[in-house]
């Protein structure tokens, strides 16, 4: 068996006195889509934000345990947080393009790293926009404001912006919850296309969405990882009563 891309060891997290994650052990497989489902406040977004250390930004956060990305503990005191975040990209619930041009949005990551020259940057921007299925729609107006795009386009721009860093992992935090059904469908298809290149983790409220696109599914409840396995199994023969109750709509 190939080593897992991301692996947690007894990951516990507190916001102040409030324990949000309770000893989570999970293995995320390379180049597959893993969906994280569960009711609001179950800790699925918080767990996702552990994988690129976004929880560091919230004051009074305490973390115990390990998060291994490619067998490197990203919570090691000497870990390079900004470098980790270029390897593990993230797309948020609401599209959040910068108030800059489309081009500058996509180029942001490589610009701040300063490793690419001008023409390499242009190539990277074009490739990322193509990979996010946005190129044809924006190629003639790369220098217009990103706000001139529709919501669905803005979200694909955010995906392109994350892809421009050539990440190994893409974290998607309810990426379609602010979008219309058509834009949602497009982003789901895009995820299926992208999994040949990156490992995708997606947090979603939409059980049907998790069923449509994910290979593995993790069900979380009250900070616990209740069930984790192949989506086909979790959805058809859940091992835990709580998973079954959630999937059948008893609560959620």
């Amino acid at each position: 068996m190939v080593k897992a891309q991301i692996r947690t060891e007894d990951l516990k997290l507190w916001f102040g006195e409030n324990q949000v994650l309770k000893a989570v052990n999970i293995e995320i497989h390379r180049k597959l889509i893993t969906a994280m489902i569960g009711p609001s406040g179950c800790g699925k977004s918080t767990l996702l934000r552990c994988f690129n250390r976004m929880n560091d930004l919230i004051p009074e956060t305490r973390i115990k345990g390990k998060v291994m990305v490619d067998e490197e503990n990203i919570y090691h005191p000497k870990a390079n947080v900004t470098e980790i975040r270029t390897r593990v990209g993230m797309v948020f619930q609401k599209p959040n393009p910068f108030p800059k041009s489309i081009f500058k949005n996509v180029a942001y990551g490589v610009t701040i790293q300063g490793k690419l020259n001008k023409s390499e940057t242009q190539d990277r921007v074009e490739k990322s926009l193509r990979d996010a299925w946005l190129w044809d729609e924006v190629k003639d107006r790369l220098h217009e404001s990103a706000f001139s795009l529709s919501g669905g386009q803005q979200q694909r721009l955010c995906i392109a912006r994350a892809l421009a860093n050539n990440p190994e992992v893409l974290l998607l935090d309810e990426p379609t919850s602010a979008l219309d059904p058509q834009s949602t469908a497009r982003i789901e298809e895009l995820c299926l296309e992208l999994k040949s290149r990156v490992t995708i983790l997606i947090v979603t409220h939409n059980i049907a969405q998790a069923g449509r696109i994910s290979d593995y599914a993790a069900f979380m409840y009250l900070g616990e990882l209740v069930e984790f396995g192949e989506t086909s199994k979790v959805f058809t023969v859940p091992q835990d009563k709580r998973t079954e109750a959630y999937l059948t709509g008893v609560f959620g």
Binding site: M54, N96, F98, Y108, G109, I112, R161, A162, N165
Partner: protein, 287 residues
């Protein structure tokens, strides 16, 4: 009974607002009425472009170029002091300071705005000017340099407080986006937060400009007061505002000198009106 009260309330507030507007127009009309007749005697070109300001009874000359230059130099100098200080403290307070320090620092900065300008002038005259004179070996410490510093400190709170509002209004989602792409704190502030707050920051600078160019007491006390074209930062100048304040007492109602001071007031009004207008437009565009 109730509807009577409602009506009274409406009438009172309506009268108050009308009164304000009428007052404002009254002031504008009167400065124009007193100032405009000057231009029957002195051409606009000689007035704005003339180098000599000799408001004497015989052979007077009313060129305000030196006064205009005095105002502009002192104001630009003040902005050079106030923009880095104001923007720096705005960034510190909203992005870097811990919550407790922020709660302390913001009111302290805003408190600076409550100090009367004459107190700033007094400080400049009594402490800063002698210091500047000694350090740079000058004849007088009352010059562009000193007044720029004092005036700059005076408008720091305006720039700091308005910029801070603009910066802390930048959505958290944009900061998160920058961090998630591997941005450091500094890169996030410099490349995302400050550019996103650009219009608010520009607005604060324009407001500071309007405040500085109209400020009278500080420049009257610290700028030295000689109507000359300055050749260095360490020369005395006589800005438009202090000219009006210093000379109005010497004039005879209706004579040319009297009218020329009103004409200067028109120029000042025009400049501040324009800068306020631009500020409004900048903010309007943001909404």
């Amino acid at each position: 009974m109730n509807s009577y009260k409602e009506k009274l309330f409406k009438v009172v507030t309506y009268t108050a607002s009308m009164f304000t507007i009428v007052l404002l127009f009254g002031i504008i009309v009167s400065i124009f009425r007193e100032g405009i007749p000057l231009f029957r005697v002195v051409s606009l070109k000689d007035f704005l472009g003339g180098l000599a300001w000799y408001p004497t009874h015989e052979n007077p000359q009313f060129g305000i170029r030196t006064l205009l230059a005095g105002s502009v130099y002192v104001t630009l100098g003040a902005l050079m002091v106030a923009i880095p200080l104001g923007l720096g403290s705005a960034i510190f307070v909203s992005e870097i300071a811990r919550p407790r320090l922020r709660e302390l620092a913001k009111p302290v900065i805003e408190l600076l705005a409550g100090i009367p300008s004459v107190v700033y002038g007094l400080f400049g005259m009594a402490f800063l000017a002698p210091l500047i004179r000694e350090w740079f070996n000058l004849d007088t410490g009352l010059n562009i340099f000193t007044s720029s510093i004092i005036l700059g400190i005076m408008i720091v709170p305006i720039i700091a407080s308005m910029s801070e509002d603009a910066i802390s209004n930048v959505p958290k989602a944009l900061r998160e986006a920058s961090y998630a792409l591997g941005g450091t704190k500094w890169e996030t502030i410099a490349k995302v937060v400050v550019p996103s707050a650009k219009s608010g920051i520009i607005g604060s600078v324009l407001l500071g400009f309007g405040r500085a160019i109209g400020e009278t007491m500080v420049v009257l006390m610290v700028a030295g007061g000689s109507a000359q074209m300055p050749k260095s930062l360490f020369q005395s100048v006589r800005p438009m505002t202090s000219t009006i304040a210093a000379e109005m007492g010497e004039t005879v109602v209706g004579d040319l000198h009297y009218r020329s001071l009103f004409a200067i007031a028109i120029v000042l009004f025009g400049i501040t009106f324009l800068s306020n207008l631009i500020t409004e437009l900048v903010f309007l565009k943001r909404r």
